[in-house]
Symmetry: C2
Subunit: 312 residues, 2 copies
Amino acid sequence: MYLGIDLGGTNISIGLVTEEGKILLKDSVPTSSERGYEAVVKDMAELSLKIIENYGIHLVDIQSVGVGSPGLPDVKNGKILYSNNLGFRDTPIREEFNKYISKPVYVENDANCAALGESTIGATRNYKDSITVTLGTGIGSGIILDNKIFSGSFYGGGEMGHMVICVDGEPCTCGRCGCWEAYASATALIRETRVAAAKFPDSELFNMISGNIKLISAKTPFDAADKGDEVAIEIIGNYFKYLSEGIANLINIFQPEVIAIGGGVSAQGDRFIERIYKNLEKLIYGNRIQTKIVLCELGNDAGIVGAAMLRN
Amino acid sequence: MYLGIDLGGTNISIGLVTEEGKILLKDSVPTSSERGYEAVVKDMAELSLKIIENYGIHLVDIQSVGVGSPGLPDVKNGKILYSNNLGFRDTPIREEFNKYISKPVYVENDANCAALGESTIGATRNYKDSITVTLGTGIGSGIILDNKIFSGSFYGGGEMGHMVICVDGEPCTCGRCGCWEAYASATALIRETRVAAAKFPDSELFNMISGNIKLISAKTPFDAADKGDEVAIEIIGNYFKYLSEGIANLINIFQPEVIAIGGGVSAQGDRFIERIYKNLEKLIYGNRIQTKIVLCELGNDAGIVGAAMLRN
């Protein structure tokens, strides 16, 4: 059995996972990264031991431990070189974790773990080559080639959210302007919805939130559009346009067998995928879309499963 | 020994190539694709036989034949599924060539062949993972992963020229708007230079071409900038900006060991590369550029060498 640790900005989620990727038991604790990495890793180890105990097995039954973390990993040395979210810089996760539990520890980027998780038992399980894109606060993305994570020569690749699709466009947290993330993340959709609500106080959109734009979530414009609100319909049309342009780029560059899309925004289900396909028809060279677009299946479990699947 | 065939829009160039990628003898004939593919392939075969004879060897000394063609290849079946340039559609290159010469024939996209050629004996020879980008009429590009061509699951990937960097931007030949090719190809540079010359008849740029914008080549703005022409300096600044944004995207997505840049525009040499590096410093996440940017070394021979290196 394996331990998969999804080290998030809010929670540390840990799962006991089988060789095949099935989660047997999982639990979580708050991350509170402001305490420093030593305290965070100590909690990771303690929760790991608790899960092992609760499931009624022993440490000897664990083959290895995988950790998915935001930021740039040093896969070889089991470190996180840099994570803005967690305040990590050259942080020796493996070394610190081994102070408590002496097992092989593998460290990866969290979005890469999610892609590996979907590729193991989720939406992309029947394909060798896939890309998984998660639309959330930012855009998380991971590339799977030949059933393995591909992250370039220095572990920093696979950052498709930071592919510029509008030169000189919206500012991005990465320092560039016009990144895909600045147009197609849930954050971007909320931003555009707030601006539109502020602009059109007569809209149903404005009415739904009683003018309090802080109440807007990524679901709000979809709900307003369902009620026929023209303002919301336009926001969503634009959102799908930018989302689809980025996906078309990925197809032209990678032409993977499948692209899986997840995150709260995609909760619209099949009609979410249908709108992307409809846009892609106009965007793909030769108009033959051979890449399948599907919804992610594992939700937050993807990161745990993928982390547990990390190997040497 | 191997035959490498670079099937271009203007010429068919064929080289007799060693196992190591050295061209022993090469020759070319006009393509004249309007005659139909049968005549073109017949010329390919006849020139192949002529080269073999002229070098004083026999057909039995040839292991295999590689063909690099514009368009979308069906690598498995040795066809070109579609090439706008050559008017090909589901064109059975292998089958037709085998009517004249009975050897294994491998068919690939020409830009992928150029990337493989540079990776064999050219600018990227010391690296396992590389991207080669050729700035010409369009942007040709090829991805080499683990010393092999990567073109996705259906042979249509690696088309980085058709990565949109400006949604709703300049129209591209592929049907999308805002493709990298529409900003960073030689064609794009010439277009912008013509527009600027037309706008500023008092510029040195205008003066250099005596107002005949048909005389503008990709070299013209560089020459005018060298003379201190402000209009040309701005054109070139913009050109490098868009070129660098696309390269930054490739680094964020692939983080390859090296990106090689070729084509007439890059004839500016080292200072061409220096300008790209200078722009990249502002664009790369974390500001650590680990990917090397270099100039292509093989020029037009890259396609011949790469085609000769194609294997099963």
